[in-house]
Symmetry: C2
DNA sequence: GTGTAGGCTCCAGGCCGACAA
DNA sequence: TTGTCGGCCTGGAGCCTACAC
């Protein structure tokens, strides 16, 4: 039988979010390094919430989740008849033989290939009290991420590097030169080197990438709204990743119908389950609604050690589309705290021990009606935020509520526009995490914008009782209304509604990297 | 049950190759027109040998062939275990409910979507003497196709239009202007209009496309060796198609393993067969090694009315990579005929009733040894041909035989280089065709270069007796050595060997649109 | 008849500071 | 601190003929 090639006996709490706090064992890092040189770049491109299980450990594979990935990638849900696979349970316990990181040659989209082998009954019994934890990959410490502006992507000029980012990540310039300049060489996921002229000039002085930048932009087909990511790693290499904004990146292959692909993943898993043979899955973190290969330990903890019940309150971490939207929301939350405490409104990001209370306010006792809205360029909304969310608004310009909507009409609008599902299904994978992590996230510069969100558990049942009975996939129904109402009450309404509209649509359309975490007993 | 929406009772002989000879019934053409506006452009891009079955008719579906398409598109054959599907026969008789033509939004690659429904036993009996024929699509009559040169694709200049092509296909210029010029608007498969300045100038005078051309080249990512296709249709519209050269066009999707896709197509077909439900397949004529959805009538004719036996000789039509290679081979054949008849060497393309004898010579009685080769830029090989095949040679420059090789070493080289499989498997779909079609092909300007080839049937057996017993898919083994030896004997050796090397590799790698036809009893 | 090279022109790509948010 | 604009320059895109095969 298979022998664990990564013996790992320490009981390490947490997963990705603690990556930078817990030093990873040499063996794991080295093994990983051999498989894919730029694993830190891969993880940075994939986002801070993506967690790959370790090769050699036992995992749980959710065919339902895999199916969701295919549906998201092909932009098509199955409508045709799907065969029944009695041998395929909703949770398939597997040995994870191999994990390799890849990036699409055309789009640079990151994905992972995993080789799984279903466990037989005896092996499943052995695995009931597992010791394996998720992969503790190195999250880069010296890096920055910037969402590209119109100026950055136009052919007219170069790339404006944020001052702190340049000083922190790039090698120092020789300021005796006039103007100070150097050549930077950055390596992408495909080990292709890109050369840029880094110059410090202008009035006021600023850092710019000029020569070489436009070649990179056109080669990677970057447009305003996409993000770039520079890492200065421990080998003193400059790494360079991109993250396309949420436009469709995976091209639908023209040689196989999406129905056949849906059936294919089920049939492949079912056959592997029936014969205990290996099978291969691709996990695409930027396209997949949720992780569908989970460390067994995490699954066991969530199912057997956490007692989720209706009425429970929780916080949830997920990515937003725009940094500025995140900043705006953080500002909102800070103001919320300020208004409650009579405080100055500054977010104390440097005090991680203040626990979650500032960002986890109690629900409002009374709601004002009717609400008054302010225009997009009216007071209370900075031009910066307006500009940042402008491209997002353009896509849904017809959906913007009128400035004089009442609370009822706002809610009606949300429902009509289809951006406001009152109830969402969450994957039942609960990250047990200490509350001080919260503050870390609000203060730090993440490669992707993240945001906490609040909710209440309103139901526990099967998502698809016919095809997938007794599945833990998205078995927890939650209500996220509360937080929205709260913000609407206290702070600038249109800003909050627009931000949340974006967040909600993001969640509804892809449900990306969404976790139930930090359950609060109400 | 389903009712044929295209009642079609006439016994029409032949298929695609006779398209331009037989007027197609109005109903078919109109129905097709509604489904896809540019059906003639689609067919022109797909190539002259591609024949789509008519919606509403009965067809035979070969899972093996479909599997080959997926293998070709993913560039990966299955190595993992494949489940057994007892309900899936090697030939699945189906009702074809729907055929729609598509083009990949990214690469412009043409493909067709078909909805199939397996026939039950009673329906299969009814279908045993079918009246349905293949789709008689309109092949464009007023068009031209050109393989792009380095000059055509460089940013330095425009597109040089072959004189006859411009005079035949483009609207006439006003020669009172100096220089004569006009604006052309051509529509591609996606109904996108492209504007070009068409000018007649230079010394000597020639037709050029200047302004607008480079935009088109970069938008379609065309490089030297790709082809463009202009059609002047009966509605006086100018249509514009492209055909990328044989570099990999279909990008491997990053969200599903190729194994799963292989299993997917089989499982989908098996499930449909078991439940008599509909399923969908995509047929990609430029990527698929062979057609895997065949009109039932053609199948019945091939299996029950044609008695293929070992030792039979046949001719086969397939596409070559380069027009000039085809022209070179036609020249070779013409010279062959000339040397045998004491003739002038001119190919009489205008005499379709001469039957196949000139292009179907008898085998040589004695072989000269040793053979002498001439250099690539030596006598006997025009610079034109050399230049045309140069990009092809570059890909396999290490494989070019030395100028002093003997016949034996040539054959050894072919085998070593892997471009010369002595025996090939042909799909057992035989086109019964009158011999005069041969001459038509040698004289006409096809959108794709085609070439006849000769061979002998050397075996009849299952290609994969384990997984697909009793299949007619590629059940005929043939030997193509004879023709090669013959050309080597009579004509310029290196030219022939290079041409045939290209042809053979083309066949081996994709086996594109390859038919057994015009069987000759030896 | 057509592919390629050389010459010439001119505009957009690209580098700069100004300025405002 | 940084996004965008106007100014300005230059290299290459793009139109032309010459010439060779």
């Amino acid at each position: 039988m298979f022998v664990l090639d990564v013996p790992f006996s320490g009981a390490v709490e947490g997963c990705c979010l603690l990556r930078s706090l817990v030093p990873s064992p040499e063996g794991v890092a080295l093994k990983l390094e051999k498989r894919c040189l730029n694993s830190e770049l891969w993880h940075a491109c994939a986002g801070p919430l993506v967690c790959l299980p370790t090769a050699g450990t036992r995992v749980v594979y959710f065919p339902q989740g895999h199916s969701e990935q295919v549906a998201a990638s092909t932009n098509k849900v199955v409508d045709g008849p799907i065969p029944n696979y009695p041998s395929l349970p909703p949770q398939l316990f597997c040995q994870l033989h191999n994990v390799t990181m890849h990036a699409d040659a055309d789009t640079d989209e990151v994905y992972a290939q995993m080789t799984l082998q279903p466990l037989n009954l005896q092996e499943q019994k052995d695995a009931y009290f597992p010791i394996e934890m998720g992969l503790l990959s190195k999250q880069p410490t010296n890096y920055f991420c910037k969402t590209l502006t119109a100026s950055d992507t136009s052919t007219h000029g170069g790339f404006s590097v944020p001052r702190r980012a340049a000083e922190k990540v790039f090698p120092p310039l020789d300021f005796s030169q006039q103007p100070p300049a150097q050549e930077l060489v950055a390596r992408d996921l495909h080990d292709v080197d890109w050369k840029f002229k880094h110059i410090y000039r202008g009035q006021p002085k600023r850092h710019l990438l000029t020569t070489g930048w436009s070649v990179f932009v056109s080669a990677k087909r970057l447009i305003a709204g996409d993000s770039v990511l520079f890492i200065w790693n421990e080998q003193n290499q400059l790494l360079l990743g991109i993250r396309h904004a949420n436009r469709p990146q995976t091209v639908m292959p023209s040689f196989l119908s999406s129905d056949s692909m849906h059936i294919g993943l089920l049939a492949a898993a079912a056959h592997a389950a029936a014969t205990n043979s290996r099978f291969t899955v691709f996990y695409n973190p930027r396209a997949s609604p949720s992780e569908f290969v989970i460390p067994l330990s995490k699954y066991v903890k969530a199912v057997f050690r956490t007692h989720v019940s209706i009425g429970m309150r929780f916080r949830m971490l997920f990515e937003t589309e725009e940094c500025s939207v995140r900043r705006a929301l953080v500002g909102v939350i800070a103001k919320v705290r300020a208004s409650r405490n009579g405080d100055s409104g500054e977010l104390r990001s440097s005090s991680p021990h203040q626990s979650g209370s500032p960002v986890c306010p109690s629900p409002p006792s009374n709601l004002p009606t009717p609400l008054s809205f302010r225009g997009l360029d009216g007071q209370g909304i900075s031009k910066k935020v307006t500009t940042a969310i402008h491209p997002l608004l353009q896509r849904s310009s017809s959906l913007i509520p009128t400035p004089s909507a009442t609370e009822d009409s706002l809610q009606t609008w949300f429902v009509k526009a289809g951006v406001f599902p009152r109830e969402l299904w969450c994957p039942f994978i609960i990250l047990q995490r200490k509350l001080q992590c919260v503050a870390l996230f609000f203060g730090s510069v993440l490669p992707y914008p993240c945001c906490w969100y609040m909710g209440t558990v309103t139901g526990i049942s099967d998502l698809d009782p016919v095809q997938w009975p007794n599945s833990h996939w998205r078995s927890v129904k939650v209500n996220l209304m509360l937080f929205l109402l709260f913000i609407i009450k206290i702070i600038d309404v249109l800003l909050a509604s627009i931000s949340l509209c974006i967040l909600m649509r993001r969640m509804r359309s892809t449900f990306m990297n969404c976790y139930l975490c930090s359950l609060l007993i109400s």
